[in-house]
Amino acid sequence: MDTFHSLMYGFAICLQPANLLFAIIGCLAGTIIGILPGVGPAAGTAMLLPLTFGMPPVASIIMLSAIYYGAMYGGTITSVLVNVPGEAASAITCLDGYQMAKKGRAGAALAVAAIGSFIGGNVATMGLVLLALPLTTMALKFGPPEFFSLMFVGLSLATSLASKSMTRALISAVLGLLLAMVGIDPVMGVPRFTFGHKDLLDGIGIIPIAMGMFGIGELLLTAEGSTTTFIKTKFKEMWLSWQEFKASIWPITRGTFIGFFMGLIPGVGVLVPTFISYAVEKKLSKHPEKFGTGMIEGVAAPETANNAYCNAAFIPLFTLGVPGSAVIAILMSAFMMNGLIPGPFLFKEHPDVVWGVIASFYIGNLVLLIMNLPMIPLWVSFLRIPTPILYTLILGFCVIGAYSGHNSVFDVGLTLGFGILGYLFKKLDFPMAPMILTVILGPLMERALRQSLEMSRGDFSILFTRPISAGLLALAALFVASSFFRMSKAVKKDTVV
């Protein structure tokens, strides 16, 4: 059976009423899970895994996968409306999504996120159908040196996240890297900057940082001003304007490719492609200074990248049996519970399951789009809740979100600490994105570099002698050079750097 016929066979299985119903239930549950703080996609799929025990394998995996990408969209809703990421992958969307909401363009931000997620998800699924095996084989050539260099490309993009001052952006990035150093040393297992506190042994999680810096920081700033202001959105302004649509086309395209490529590499995590796609858009934009003020490109690219990543992350699972992230590992356990071993033989031995699930990605993404576009007015109507009530509810849910990550009140206190830091960052005009980016990249980079140096017995040349690694480092050098070129031009024009 060729690929096309296999896919059609998958559609025939997926479109059976029961499977279709499970895809819809999964999308709905995923969206709700994404909206609620503290219940991320990993926790959501793990929580609902026992419910699938009695279900047929195809139906259970279809539902769990739908929860996964449904949660990715759900997280966007709170990021845009109240500046609190429902799940970590939507943290970067806060930067421009919330600013769009403040300008009365919340509907447009949610619409472009839904469309971008649909396109990103479907293109990645197409990649899964057509190019799965060769791409995965290539991705597996990524050893620690290549992985380090790839992360270094991400780090080099931190400089392009600067707004008015390059110095402040670099300080923000270094602070993020220092925060990433907290916890057990990845190679020697020595506690580092924990000051004898056991809660710090696991390091500082991204949830207290993102929720504190974006959510609590913004609430402190708003409460300090006036709490009686409403974010007004008219019904006729809910949809994307033609200009916004045009401006989103290329960011969606680039976000798709970045998310897809990163999804192939196990261990990258969904946060990295979202931040990198945002940084790439800012770098390529004719108006990088406007990012963070409500640019639709700043929503379109990362939202597309996260769904493309989610769908592409299934490729290493299906072709090699390698789970690339925590959620995929949970889905892998769903396969194994049903007596299916993910890997190259899965396509041959259980084509009904594999092709049924692959076809369900198309259906699921379509369901998500159809379900969420009409619901945008409903989501936006939450902004009409009087501010004291809305802010109090947000703060209450943030307490739950901060606590439930590790069941630790230490994290709750930490969230307030980062909230105050976020408030100071806003007051002093320090960009937050470089810090969040480096907090994510820091541990990945350090581990990869130290593993590389163990491979070469301390010889740094391993990073430059392997072709993929050297190519990526050259790309990073190009990014840094172009940022400094932009900075020097700004100095000549006597603008503040």
Partner: protein, 173 residues
Amino acid sequence: MTTMTRPYQVTAAVLFVFSAFVAYESLQLKFYTRLGPGPGLFPFWLALILGALSVSMFFQATFRSAEPRPADFYASKLGYLRALAICGAWMWATVLLEPLGYRLTMLVFFPILLLTLGRVSWYTNVLFTLIGSIAAYWLFTEVLRVTLPIGPFDALFEPIDKFFESIVSIFAR
């Protein structure tokens, strides 16, 4: 015209002290091992970079034409009080969430915020306090299976739990 010179000078000084502290702490860790960098190498270099950047920030703030200070840089007394109320309520939750349990802690957390963040009628206050504490607890623990702290006085809420359970059983039928 007031400028951002002084706030940036103070920030740079604080960052410099922080970088010196991190550098000192890093030196207490192994710097290099037989297999390559030790746990102290990266933080030490990062501390040096942060120190250099803070010095650069200080000089930029002092000798370059400074940015104007935004009009709302300092808030009104009432504004600061509202921000402090948020911090106070959050600290209350941090300290008492485990000793008192989620529901009892939030029965105080919500009214404090609702009263300080704006004008809300007493019945709205009661309604949202109940939603944020008791209903949210039930939703997260019973429906979503998220663990939230239980306190020594949680037996007081047993009739409410039974009420929710009876509603669910009616729907389940």
